[in-house]
C-alpha cells in the first residue's frame, strides 16, 4: 500500500514536472526582468528623439535667420558702397573742375567764393561728405611767394604757423561747412599727409584710416584726390605724377552719420547691429562705425566686404542681430508633444506587457493547480479502486464462509442470522462493485471487451433476473428486439448487460403498476418511426382520440400511459411494418457490409417518474431524485452515472424522457461490431443450444387485444421458428377456423397452439364466454385440438383453476416472456403430443432421431471406456442396438465381412490404431469384398447397399475444426459427430444415412 501511495505521489510530481517543461515561455515572459529597463530606455530614446526633432527645427530657423542676416548685410554694404562711390565720383569731378578752371584757365576762374558757392550748391550730390576743400601743393621754395599772394601764413593743423618743410599743402578753397580748415597745411596731419602722398603717387582717390574728425568728433575718413597741372601721359610713372601734381582735393566722410542715415532709410533697422571696420591692418581692425562693445547676438555675424575705391584700404561691414534668436515655440511644442506621445506609447506597451506577464503567471498557476487537481482526482480514483479491491477480497471470504455456514446444520434462528448477514454482505459487495466500476471508469482503466455475443439471450437473462420481482408487483415486463438487429454482435456483453440491468432494475424499483418494456432496434429505425408519427397525425388521429375512445387506454404495452409516446402502437407498428418490408426484400439484400451497427435501446416504464427539478442531475453520481428516494427505495444513485459512462464507452449516448407520475423512458444508443460470417457460424452452434429448434414450422395464434403486447409475444415465438398470427379477440379465431380458415384471406393453417392473453380471457369470461365454445371439432375437419395456452403476468390459484376449467388445460405461461421459457413450456405441452403423433413427419427433434435409430445395430469404437459407455447409452436411448469395441483392431475384427452393423461411430484419437487408420482399413476391406462380389456369386444382401458393402462410419471427435473434418472425409468417413453427443448434431449426421 505504501508503495502504491508513493507511486501516486511520484505520479503527481511527474505530472507537475511535465507541466513545468511544457510551460510555454513567451517572448515577454522570458524578458520580464528587463521590462522596467526597457521602459527607461524607451523614455530616453524618446527624449533623444524629441531633442533631435527640436534641433532639426531650430537649425532650420537659424539657417533662415542667417540668410536674412546675410542678405540684409549685403544689401547695406552694397548701398553704402554705392553711395560712397557716387560721392567719390563727385569729388573726382570737382578735382577735374578745379584743375580745369583753376589751372588751365589763366587767370584762374575759381576763387574761394566761387568754390564755396559751387560746392555749397552741389552739396546734395555728396551727401556723405561733410565738406570738401582744395589744398594747393606748395614747395618750400614757393612758400613765401604763396604766403604773400594769399596774405596768410601756412598753419599746421594745430593752427600754428607751419614749421619749415619740403613742401606744404595749404587749403586754399574750402566749402563753407569746413571753412575752418582754410590755410591749414594738410601735410601737417599725419593721416592727411600720408593720404596726399599716396594719392599723388597713384592718381586715384585714397582714404585715410578712420579717425576723429575735426569739429564733429565723429569717426570719419578723409578722401583725397590729386589735381594735376598738366595732362599726364597715358601711363605715367610715379615721378611724373608727383611732378605734375598741382594740389589735392579732399573731403571728409563722416562715416558715422553717413551709415546712420543710410540705415535709417532701410527697414528692419532696429533688429540689426551694423559695424564697419577698416581692416587694412588685418590684425588690428579699426572701427569706422558702431560700438566696439555693443551687446548683441555675437553668435551669428555676417561680414560683407566694402570696396570704397581705394585699393590700399580694405573695409568690411559686420552685421549681427541685436537680440538673440527667439526660442522657437513651434519646435519646442512639437518636440515636447512628440516626447509626451512617445512616453504614453511606451507606458501603454509597458502596461500591456506587465499585464500579459501577470495573466500568464496566473494562467500557469491555474494550470498547475488544475494539474494538481487532476492528479488528485486520478489518485482518488486509484485509491478508490485499490481500496474497493482490498475490501472485495475479504468480503468474498466472508460471503463464501457464510455460504458454507448456511450449508451446515443450523437452527432456524441461526440460519436467519446467517442469511441476513449474507444478504447484507451481498448488498455491500454490489455497492463496492459499483463504486469500483465508477472509479475504474474515472481512472480510465475500464476497457471494453469485443467478443461476439447474442444480444437477445442477454436481454432474456436480464428479464429473468427481474421476473420474480415484476411478477410479485404485477408489472408486465417485456422485451422486443427488432429483426433487423443482427443475432450476434461484437461488444462487451457484461457491460451491456450491466447497463440494461441497471435501467430495468431502476424501472422495476420505481414502478408499481403498468409495464416495463425493453425495446431494441437499429438506430436508423427512428426515422421510419418519425415518418409513421407524422403520418398518424396527418390521418387526423391524434393521441387524445385514442385516449378517449379507448376508455383511458393507451396503446402501450399494458395500456398505461407512458412518458414517451414513441413506444405506443401507432409508431411501433411502423417499426414492425418497416421490418417486415425489409424482411421481404432481404432475400436480395445480403447482409450489409457496414462494420458497425448502432443499436437503440429503450427502457420504458410507467413508474413514479422523475421530478422535473431533479431531471438535470439524474446522471450525476450519488444523486437521487431527492433524499426521500433512498429512504423509500434504497440504492446509492451511482448506477445511472455508471450506465452513462458505460454507454459513452460503447460509443453511444443515454437520454431519458420522464413525466412525474406517468413514467420514464430511458433510451441509449450503443455501437457494436458486426460479426464476421465465419465467427458467426462458430457462435451459432453453442448459442443455438439455448433455443431448441424442435418447434420450427409450428403454427400459433396469439390472441391479444393489445397490439404491442401481441408483437412482443410474436417476437418470442418467432425466435423459436413458430409461425404466428395475431388475432385481436377469440371470436375472430373461432370464426376463421370455423370457416375453413379462409376468411382471413391468408392460407392460414390450422393452428397447433393458441396463446390467449389473460386480460382478454378474463374480460371474455366476464361476458359469459367460455373457451369451450371454441368447438374446434364441430367444423368436421380432422384436425387435432390446438393447444390452448394462457399468458399471464400473475395469476391466483382461483384464477388458475378457473382457467383450467375453461379449457386452458395445457399450461399457463407466466410472464415475462422469454424464448427459452416458452420453449420449455411448449416442450412440456407438445412433448405429450409427440408420442401420439409418432408417425407424423416431423423433421426435427429426438422423436425423429428415435425413429431413425430404432432397431439399428451400431458399433461404437472408442478406447476410453467412459466415452464408450456414454455413447452407447445415448444411442441406446434412441432405441439403437449398440455394440462396443475398445480399439481399432477390435473394430476391424468385428467389421470383418460379412457383418450386420448399420453404422459405426469411430473415435479418432486411439492408441495403436487411430480412427483414420481403422477407417482406411475397413474401406480397403470393403472394396476388396465388393470387387469379389461383382465378379463372384452374390453374398448375403441383408446389409449391403445397392449391392455394395459400405458401412457408414462417423467420426467422434472433441475438437470440431475443419481440418479434422476434411481428413475424416479423405480417409473414407461419412461424417462426424462432436463428442459428447448433442442431439441436434447427432441428428444431422445420422439423418444423411438413414433417410431412406
Amino acid at each position: 500500500m505504501g508503495l502504491k501511495m508513493q507511486s501516486h505521489q511520484s505520479l503527481a510530481v511527474r505530472l507537475n514536472e511535465q507541466m513545468g517543461t511544457k510551460r510555454g515561455y513567451t517572448l515577454i515572459q522570458s524578458y520580464r526582468a528587463w521590462l522596467p529597463k526597457f521602459l527607461i530606455f524607451w523614455v530616453f530614446l524618446m527624449a533623444i528623439l524629441s531633442m533631435f526633432i527640436y534641433n532639426g527645427m531650430d537649425a532650420d530657423n537659424k539657417v533662415r535667420r542667417k540668410e536674412v542676416l546675410s542678405s540684409m548685410c549685403d544689401q547695406r554694404a552694397r548701398m553704402l558702397q554705392d553711395q560712397f562711390s557716387v560721392s567719390v565720383n563727385h569729388v573726382h569731378a570737382l578735382a577735374i573742375l578745379v584743375s580745369t578752371f583753376h589751372y588751365y584757365k589763366n587767370p584762374s576762374a575759381i576763387d574761394q567764393e566761387t568754390f564755396a558757392e559751387y560746392t555749397a550748391r552741389t552739396a546734395f550730390e555728396r551727401p556723405l561728405l561733410s565738406g570738401v576743400a582744395y589744398a594747393q601743393r606748395v614747395v618750400d621754395s614757393e612758400r613765401e611767394n604763396f604766403e604773400r599772394q594769399h596774405g596768410w601764413t601756412i598753419k599746421t593743423m594745430k593752427r600754428e604757423p607751419s614749421p619749415l618743410r619740403d613742401e606744404y599743402a595749404p587749403v586754399i578753397f574750402s566749402q563753407e561747412t569746413v571753412s575752418y580748415i582754410e590755410s591749414l597745411d594738410m601735410m601737417s596731419g599725419e593721416e592727411d599727409r600720408e593720404n596726399i602722398l599716396r594719392s599723388r603717387a597713384t592718381g586715384k582717390a585714397v582714404l585715410t584710416s578712420p579717425f576723429r574728425l575735426l569739429g564733429s568728433h565723429h569717426l570719419g575718413v578723409v578722401l583725397t584726390f590729386p589735381v594735376y597741372k598738366s595732362k599726364l601721359p597715358s601711363s605715367p610713372t610715379v615721378e611724373e605724377r608727383i611732378e605734375a601734381t598741382a594740389g589735392y582735393l579732399g573731403g571728409a566722410f563722416d562715416v558715422e552719420s553717413l551709415v546712420e542715415n543710410l540705415l535709417g532709410q532701410l527697414a528692419g533697422n532696429q533688429a540689426f547691429l551694423v559695424n564697419v571696420y577698416d581692416i587694412t591692418n588685418s590684425s588690428d581692425p579699426l572701427i569706422m562705425y558702431g560700438h566696439q562693445n555693443q551687446d548683441g547676438d555675437m553668435s551669428l555675424v555676417h561680414e560683407s566686404k566694402l570696396d570704397f575705391g581705394d585699393p590700399f584700404r580694405k573695409h568690411q561691414m559686420i552685421c549681427s542681430y541685436h537680440q538673440k534668436a527667439p526660442t522657437s515655440w513651434t519646435a519646442l511644442t512639437t518636440a515636447f508633444l512628440f516626447f509626451v506621445i512617445g512616453l504614453l506609447v511606451g507606458y501603454i506597451l509597458y502596461g500591456a506587457a506587465i499585464h500579459i506577464v501577470k495573466v500568464e503567471d496566473d494562467f500557469h498557476e491555474m494550470q498547475e493547480l488544475k494539474g494538481r487537481a487532476e492528479a488528485a482526482d486520478v489518485a482518488k480514483s486509484q485509491f478508490l479502486a485499490t481500496v474497493s479491491h482490498e475490501i472485495r477480497t475479504p468480503m468474498n471470504g466472508i460471503l463464501g464462509m457464510l455460504a458454507l455456514l448456511l450449508d451446515t446444520d443450523l437452527s432456524s434462528t441461526q440460519r436467519d442470522y446467517a442469511q441476513t448477514a449474507q444478504a447484507c454482505g451481498k448488498a455491500l459487495i454490489a455497492l463496492i462493485n459499483e463504486v469500483l466500476d465508477r472509479a475504474k471508469i474515472e481512472a480510465g482503466k475500464l476497457e471494453l471487451e469485443a467478443v461476439p455475443f447474442d444480444l437477445r439471450s442477454i436481454l432474456d437473462d436480464v428479464l429473468s433476473l427481474f421476473s420474480e420481482k415484476s411478477r410479485n408487483k404485477g408489472i408486465e415486463l417485456a422485451v422486443f428486439v427488432s429483426d433487423k438487429v443482427p443475432d450476434i454482435v461484437m461488444g462487451d456483453p457484461g457491460r451491456f448487460r450491466q447497463v440494461i440491468t441497471n435501467l430495468v432494475g431502476n424501472s422495476v424499483k420505481f414502478t408499481e403498476r403498468g409495464h416495463i418494456f425493453v425495446k431494441v432496434h437499429l438506430a436508423e429505425s427512428p426515422k421510419a418511426m418519425m415518418n409513421g408519427k407524422s403520418e398518424s397525425t396527418l390521418n387526423g388521429v391524434p393521441n387524445e382520440d385514442v385516449l378517449t375512445s379507448g376508455g383511458c387506454q393507451f396503446k402501450t404495452l399494458s395500456g398505461c400511459e407512458a412518458a414517451d409516446d414513441r413506444n405506443c402502437w401507432d409508431t411501433f407498428k411502423h417499426l414492425i411494418d418497416d421490418k417486415e418490408f425489409r424482411y421481404g426484400s432481404s432475400s436480395n439484400r445480403v447482409a450489409t457490409n457496414e462494420e458497425y451497427v448502432t443499436l437503440m435501446v429503450c427502457v420504458e416504464d410507467t413508474g413514479i417518474g422523475i421530478p422535473l427539478r431533479a431531471q438535470d442531475r439524474v446522471f450525476m453520481p450519488f444523486m437521487q431524485a431527492d433524499s426521500s428516494t433512498s429512504r423509500n427505495y434504497g440504492g446509492t444513485g451511482i448506477g445511472l452515472s455508471i450506465s452513462k459512462c458505460l454507454v459513452e464507452l460503447m460509443g453511444g449516448q443515454i437520454s431519458f424522457i420522464s413525466r412525474p407520475h406517468v413514467g420514464s423512458t430511458f433510451s441509449f444508443t450503443a455501437v457494436f461490431g458486426r460479426c464476421k460470417k465465419n465467427a458467426f457460424d462458430e457462435m451459432k452452434k453453442p448459442k443455438s443450444e439455448d433455443l431448441p429448434s424442435g418447434f420450427r414450422g409450428l403454427k400459433a395464434i396469439v390472441v391479444d387485444g393489445k397490439p404491442v403486447r401481441a408483437a412482443v409475444t410474436k417476437y418470442h415465438l418467432k425466435r423459436l421458428g413458430i409461425l404466428v398470427e395475431v388475432a385481436s379477440n377469440i371470436k375472430t379465431v373461432t370464426l376463421s377456423t370455423k370457416n375453413g380458415s379462409v376468411t382471413s384471406g391468408r392460407n392460414i393453417m390450422h393452428p397447433d397452439i393458441v396463446l390467449v392473453e389473460k386480460d382478454l380471457w378474463i374480460s371474455i369470461e366476464d361476458g359469459g364466454f367460455c373457451v369451450r365454445q371454441l368447438d374446434w371439432e364441430q367444423n368436421g375437419h380432422m384436425f387435432k385440438l390446438p393447444k390452448m395456452i394462457l399468458l399471464a403476468t400473475n395469476i391466483s390459484n382461483a384464477e388458475f383453476d378457473k382457467a383450467k376449467a375453461a379449457g386452458f388445460a395445457d399450461t399457463v405461461i407466466m410472464k415475462p416472456l422469454r424464448a427459452s421459457m416458452i420453449a420449455a413450456c411448449l416442450q412440456q405441452v407438445l412433448g405429450i403430443g409427440k408420442k401420439r403423433q409418432q408417425g407424423r413427419d416431423m423433421p426435427n427433434g429426438s422423436s425423429f432421431l428415435q425413429s431413425l435409430l430404432c432397431g439399428k445395430k451400431i458399433l461404437v469404437v472408442d478406447d476410453n471406456m467412459v466415452n464408450r459407455r456414454v455413447a452407447a447409452g445415448a444411442l441406446k436411448k434412441f432405441g439403437a442396438d449398440v455394440d462396443c469395441a475398445e480399439s481399432g483392431k477390435v473394430a476391424l475384427k468385428k467389421l470383418q465381412l460379412p457383418h450386420c452393423f448399420d453404422a459405426c461411430f469411430m473415435d479418432i484419437q486411439m492408441p495403436e490404431m487411430d480412427g483414420f487408420e481403422a477407417t482406411r482399413r475397413i474401406r480397403q476391406m470393403e472394396s476388396q469384398a465388393n470387387q469379389q462380389m461383382n465378379g463372384g456369386p452374390a453374398v448375403e444382401e441383408s446389409t449391403c447397399r445397392k449391392g455394395e458393402w459400405h458401412v457408414p462410419i462417423l467420426a467422434m471427435t472433441a475438437d470440431v475444426i475443419h481440418a479434422t473434418y476434411d481428413e475424416c472425409l479423405k480417409c473414407g468417413m461419412d461424417g462426424y459427430v462432436s463428442k459428447p453427443f448433442e442431439e441436434e448434431n447427432l441428428y444431422q449426421a445420422v439423418a444423411k444415412f438413414f433417410k431412406s
Binding site: 476410453n864 467412459v866 466415452n867 456414454v870 447409452g873 445415448a874 436411448k877 484419437q909 459428447p980
Partner: protein, 156 residues
C-alpha cells in the same frame, strides 16, 4: 412422511448439483448423462461414473508414476493418458477436471516438469473433490430411490 423425505432428498440433491454447477465442477454434459438414465437403465449414471473413477484412478496412477519415476519423463505417453482422461471427463461433464487436464497437457507439451507436477497436484485435488461430491450425490440418490421405492407400492 416418507414422501416428504423423498422431496427433501431431491431438494438436497438439486442443491448439491446446483453448487457443483456453480463452482464449475460439473457442466451441462452431466445433465445430458442424467437424461440418458431411464427405466431401461436405472443406474446408468452411477455405472458410467464408476467406470470413470476406475479408469481415471488408473490414469492418475500412471501419470504420477511417469512423472516421478524417471528423470526423463515420457511426455508423449503422458499426453496420451491425459487425452484419455480429458475425453472421459468431458463425457461425464467434469468440467474442472477437464480444464486442469488441458493445462496439464499444455505443460507436458512444453516438457515443463514443474508445471506438470503442479498440474498433477491440482488434478488430483480436483479429482478427489469431484469424487467426494459425486459419491455424496449418489448416496442421496440411493436414499431417494429407496424412499421412492417404498412409496411406489403404496401408491399402486
Amino acid at each position: 412422511m416418507l414422501g416428504l423425505g423423498a422431496d427433501r432428498l431431491r431438494a438436497d440433491m438439486n442443491r448439491l448439483l446446483a453448487l457443483l454447477f456453480h463452482q464449475g465442477v460439473l457442466d451441462e454434459q452431466f445433465l445430458q448423462l442424467q437424461q440418458l438414465q431411464d427405466e431401461s437403465s436405472p443406474n446408468f449414471v452411477s455405472e458410467v461414473v464408476n467406470i470413470y473413477f476406475h479408469e481415471s484412478e488408473k490414469l492418475l496412477r500412471n501419470l504420477r508414476a511417469l512423472l516421478l519415476d524417471t528423470e526423463l519423463s515420457d511426455y508423449k505417453k503422458m499426453g496420451i493418458h491425459l487425452n484419455q482422461l480429458m475425453g472421459s471427463s468431458s463425457s461425464i461433464g467434469a468440467k474442472r477436471v477437464r480444464n486442469v487436464c488441458v493445462a496439464f497437457r499444455a505443460a507436458s507439451e512444453q516438457n515443463n516438469r514443474a508445471g506438470c507436477l503442479r498440474a498433477l497436484e491440482l488434478l488430483e485435488h480436483e479429482y478427489c473433490y469431484l469424487k467426494n461430491k459425486l459419491h455424496e450425490l449418489f448416496q442421496i440418490e440411493q436414499q431417494r430411490a429407496l424412499s421412492a421405492g417404498i412409496r411406489y407400492p403404496m401408491q399402486n
